[in-house]
Symmetry: C2
Subunit: 325 residues, 2 copies
């Protein structure tokens, strides 16, 4: 009989479920609402996992285990959610063991950004790669890295924090306490906030000022639309974002030399409006030692990547080629 | 019987040899001069490897294979030295197979900076680590990274080029074609050259100007000695080096989250004169999210690291836990 691993992606609003087979092929995903208590959440995760098996006609005895993607910070080795601001009651919770007990299957815990990277690696944009880097351009900039087929965690579970690589020393202050972090320049939120700051604090003229007055804020989509309509400030802010994102991509190529860099998150809705200036800046910043061999592409799995990657990490932990435990 | 792998570190002047046992313990190393022809070099590598076995009383049948560390660029998978400026006749040479044939043992080729990193990892400063980064501060800045026990190569064998991480966008032009590369600020050679430039081109006053006149150049050691004697320009240049090196270290912690960063190369002869300002700058640049858990230390194996790490890579390739090939 074919064997499967279950993937569970725990989010603040929904929990997503999937099965992944031994070839890394995902089933159709589905989601259930996230209950507002810890017991409720664990119960929903167990129920959804069982439903995923049932819907796909898979016996529990043909499931090797479950992978759980969760917002952090986490203690990966202990399987504990240390503290998750968007999930009620989630402080020092042994989530891995609670779900494992409820399911009667072994489980593994993974942070959600890493899970998404691994999902793209096994079933999405990176499925033919050996080495891949993911950048998610959303509220902040999240990251994940696959090195020679395996997810990078770091010695303390804090690797692949690519949003906090410094791309402008002494630059914009970041909430993390550093200055000039990539996410201050290349996240959808902070890029748009910078446009608002230039209008409000530096008195720059822009068609965006009307939106800002009306909505109280500007989104990355607003900036791109204003840019397309010929707004100079919007063009400047958008190009700066592409420049710093390119700088981050080049640094990541020097460090990881990946087959490809995969971009996810809200900003990628801009498609070629993002990729075209990004490619130009990467080309400008690329060294002369070797041609550019790393491709930069938009993620293929959207919001399904986290659940699929969580199942993939269960395969890595419990599959036939798993390291001795 | 105990089993061994042979490590060979090919340099422009000497070839170094070592045996490493299944616990990662190295024998005493020794070196032979590097002949000035390709045939001579291959012959010397084979002869030295046999001598290493004989000296340590190890039968060829108890050797699993040999690892060869070589200056690059290399085609690692094919075992070919593409082009090595400091080794005569080394253009598109299948060095791995030539040595393997001469020895009658399987061999693996590795670039010398990676081999040194792996040597420190198995038998030096990183021997208790799972994740480690090496920076060699010499003529340039070389790098190597171990991720969860395995050497990082990248998809095209060009990973861990940490000397070319950009620490100052739009900064000093680098020979690689980028600007603001770490090696322009933190290598012994370029740091000293910058002191010379400030004296010669910007007319800065310094006690180093006399040395510059006399020798035609300044070394990192000269800069440090002038700094210790109270020279202001030297102090400024030295501190700038420590600042940018710290910036590189912080970026590497964000990306790799290693147990430790190991520093090697000529600059580390300065010992605490290097480490003290470096620690201060790392502390200043460190984020506020988590305490600094990555240690930064000076390499333990000196010039032996490359040969030891090459043998370690032979263990990784041919030992009992080696991946299927």
């Amino acid at each position: 009989m074919a064997k499967y691993c279950i993937g569970i992606d725990l989010g603040g609003t929904f929990i997503k479920f999937v099965l992944v087979d031994d070839q890394g092929r995902p089933s159709k995903t589905f989601q259930l609402p996230t209950p507002d208590s810890l017991d409720g959440m664990v119960g929903q995760m167990v129920a959804g996992a069982k439903q995923a098996l049932k819907t796909n006609g898979v016996a529990v005895s043909d499931a090797l285990g479950a992978g759980i993607g969760s917002p952090g910070p986490l203690d990966l080795k202990a399987g504990i959610v240390l503290n998750s601001p968007n999930l009620p009651g989630m402080t020092n919770v042994p989530l891995r063991d609670l779900v494992s007990k409820g399911l009667g299957l072994p489980a593994v815990l993974e942070n959600d950004a890493n899970a998404a990277a691994y999902g793209e690696f096994i079933a999405g944009a990176g499925k033919d790669a050996t080495d891949m880097v993911l950048l998610t351009l959303g509220t902040g900039v999240g990251g994940g890295a696959i090195v020679d087929g395996r997810l990078l965690h770091g010695a303390h579970g804090m690797g692949a924090e690519f949003g906090h690589i410094v791309v402008e020393p002494g630059g914009r202050p970041c909430g993390c306490g550093q200055t000039g972090c990539l996410e201050q320049y290349a996240s959808a939120t902070f890029m748009a906030r910078n446009a608002a700051r230039l209008i409000q604090q530096e008195g720059r003229a822009s068609s965006l000022s009307e939106i800002l007055k009306r909505k109280g804020e500007i989104t990355a989509k607003d900036v791109n639309e204003a840019r397309r309509a010929g707004d100079e400030l919007a063009a400047e802010v958008w190009d700066e974002m592409a420049h710093y994102l390119a700088m981050g991509c080049v640094d990541l190529c020097r460090a990881f030399d990946p087959d490809l860099i995969v971009l996810g998150g809200g900003m990628t809705a801009a498609g070629e409006d993002l990729m075209k200036p990004l490619r130009k800046h990467v080309s400008d910043l690329w060294w002369k030692m070797t041609p550019q061999v790393t491709r930069i592409v938009i993620a293929a799995l959207g919001n399904d990547a986290g659940a699929i990657g969580a199942a993939g990490q269960a395969w890595a932990a419990f599959g036939p080629n798993a390291p001795a435990r």
